[in-house]
Symmetry: C2
Subunit: 514 residues, 2 copies
Amino acid sequence: MFESTKVGRTVSKEDFREQQEELRTELLAAQRDLKDSNVPVIVLISGVEAAGKGEVVNRLNEWLDTRGVQTFAFWDESDEERDRPRYWRFWRSMPARGEISILFGGWYLTPIEHRFKGHCTDAELDGELNRIVDFERMLTEDGALILKFWFHLSEPNQKARLKELSRDDRSRWKMLPDKSKFSEQYAAFEQVAERIIRHTDQGSCPWYLIEAEDRRYRDLTVGKTLLHAIRSRLAENSAAATPAPERVWTPELPNSPSAQITIIDQLDLSLALERETYQQEMKRLQSEINELAWSAYNKKRSTVLVFEGVDAAGKGGAIRRITTAVDARLYRTIPIAAPTDEEKAHHYLWRFWRHVPRAGFMTLYDRSWYGRILVERVEGFASHPEWRRAYAEINRFEEQLVESGIVMLKFWVQISDEEQLKRFKDREATPYKRYKITDEDWRNREKWPHYREAINEMIVRTSTRYAPWTLVEGNDKPFARVKVLKTVCDTLREALKRTPEPITGYLPCGEKRV
Amino acid sequence: MFESTKVGRTVSKEDFREQQEELRTELLAAQRDLKDSNVPVIVLISGVEAAGKGEVVNRLNEWLDTRGVQTFAFWDESDEERDRPRYWRFWRSMPARGEISILFGGWYLTPIEHRFKGHCTDAELDGELNRIVDFERMLTEDGALILKFWFHLSEPNQKARLKELSRDDRSRWKMLPDKSKFSEQYAAFEQVAERIIRHTDQGSCPWYLIEAEDRRYRDLTVGKTLLHAIRSRLAENSAAATPAPERVWTPELPNSPSAQITIIDQLDLSLALERETYQQEMKRLQSEINELAWSAYNKKRSTVLVFEGVDAAGKGGAIRRITTAVDARLYRTIPIAAPTDEEKAHHYLWRFWRHVPRAGFMTLYDRSWYGRILVERVEGFASHPEWRRAYAEINRFEEQLVESGIVMLKFWVQISDEEQLKRFKDREATPYKRYKITDEDWRNREKWPHYREAINEMIVRTSTRYAPWTLVEGNDKPFARVKVLKTVCDTLREALKRTPEPITGYLPCGEKRV
């Protein structure tokens, strides 16, 4: 695989000077066009030791307008990062649309290091690489342009370069945080690198293997590759700008009466609780959830609760029964409304990653990422391919949360059509409830057949072993609230008894500390 | 001072139930109105041990719609917080307009603890309290509503409460991170508390001393105070909505020719560098700044560089000479354009606090908070009182940065009227520079008399010992670039030789670690 990076490609000083001038002008122009596009650009910089990765990045920053570029080195993990799922730090480094992030190593750093040091097996490495493939595909499908550069040196060249660096007292390289000495076992390192590159080399975001011996050749090649990639992507975009035939989505369930029955129809909405039982239960559960929240804090286990449901189903009421019981220092409620402009400039999951709690805390999402496959699907805010792939994206997102030790619960609160109508009318009649009901709520009622199918599919596709949906019969508010609280208590109590285990064959991470 | 908190005020169970019902409805209504206003609400919770501060906050969260409320406890400082100026964590907790932040202790926690433990003198404490007064005034002048609650108990009542708590195995109180036992020296603690309250009790954000013995009285009083404060503020706002007579700002310099001379007029814009000297100097300086940046990284000293100047003065060029020299992993360029909607929902300094670098890194602001007293003043985006008070606000902001160990430099790049005209025309004539020139640039030229005075006043009022302005003669680009780089190198080199010292008599903070 690396043969082509050992052929001794060079660029003369004069050629470099000449080509640089042109390249630079074109890169700046491309960057300006990029600015007006909806494409975020991610440049990953990897390679063998002493290949001059830092030099390349400095060159790029010299050529580009640094106002649209941010560089991220993943040296030390801060404690705010350690206390969250592993990928949180990468989400923090995501460029907005029209901007460029240059990432040193990025998500490849840990896998390379772990495998090379023998901290994981090939099979475990492959599991992690699958995750990476999924992650990158998700980003590219959302419109991101990802360029992955691997800089390579032959063994004698690397030896020479290292010697040269060690002679220079003031070499930057010596001041860098110490990474394991990958160079001492050249062949073994190359083997790991090959496995990783092979496994993650996708059409939509290929690796570029670059010979790093000649600095001029190396830098020019990177610059030209970047320029070409940006230009091609922008050309593609404007080609696609001719409106595609609109695909209207209609309910897809087979037309036979029995196929029309959804999971939601099977809920027994007549379930109810007597007032006295309700008060007793509530008292007991609220006291317990407070204890559990403190215990989770001490054990550094986080909790993520997701609340979804039809309009007026009583999500807010259920949330309040939890928040009034738990110490206010331990939880945060995130109400999901229209995204801010910063949020709109990123992948739709970015705004939820922002709020993932630090270890020990609880986050309640009042509506959530499921908007993608509910309202966005039904209203057509997300295109058909967008919401279709969201199921897998969401499952992987939740998998990462749970894997990092987060206890996760999702509630769907359902009420009958008649009950909803009753509550709507009640809201209209009560002065201090009137603000809760809008014309849109009424419109949504008319779209119920569409929602019905979307909900059914959501539950089928995203109720996973590690993040199951709890369906809540909501016609009787006391019953619904007790069911929610009881589920949270039971799950949290059980979860705190044991250490979380990896869900799949992913990398057993050294930095995992639950 | 605390006598009024020891008179045994109580509320009966029935009264509580009755009043609570009404209070709650009204609080929710007030919160909805707040939502549509431009008022951020900060509720500070302080007081003696065992007064039930956590209980109060939970009650507020029970009464309010938690979707507009965030609670912050300042337990452990994360390393991302420790690596920045002390107030960074408070800026992170600032509510957006229309929302409420509840802060446990907030900026009072450290002063109380330090003085009580004898880590600082009364005089030092007073210095810190002056800062707090300034800080709070800045927020209230910007429209924030700040409520500061102090919960108090008599000595026997506190003793009894502590005993009661210690008997309860499951008391939340016992699970809280250990704070110094303020209760063991009741009188001494009361004395410190009194000094702090007395010193920081301002008309625009007064302290509310509340007797905490009877829980019902305590909670009802807090709720009513909050309701009344929000209602009054919203009423004030709508009263003020009648348009105030517009104050048009005109240049204010006395009309005599000699009074019209500004600092800027004294710059010798004929200064220039020969090509050869330029290249030599640049090579030397770029190499040095890279070394210095690495050295600053190793010593955990941050650098903040601010670039301001007239249009086409060459700010960008000067910035590039730095960024191409410094390792891309060590700096970040923050171009200041129109604020995002999240930024608009906060105090104007909030967006700059967001980007304050972690210890060891460099941030280059391409335009900055000085927009407030330049473009916002001249264009009337900020009102007369707003930009008038910005001088002091900015000085205090910069003081905090420098005090935390940040090396700070501010550059004003100036060119002559003729040179600007030449560059504008050149930009219009060169295809790849054309995007740099807009109609607005031409319009700004016409406003030069206004800018001239604003710039002069800015330099006079904000050139401080700890954050001086460097005026750069910009007609000759090589000269300007070398001057900027040389100033950065000289300052950074000197700064790295010594440990930063406190600027004023502020609190010598235990957490200071430069």
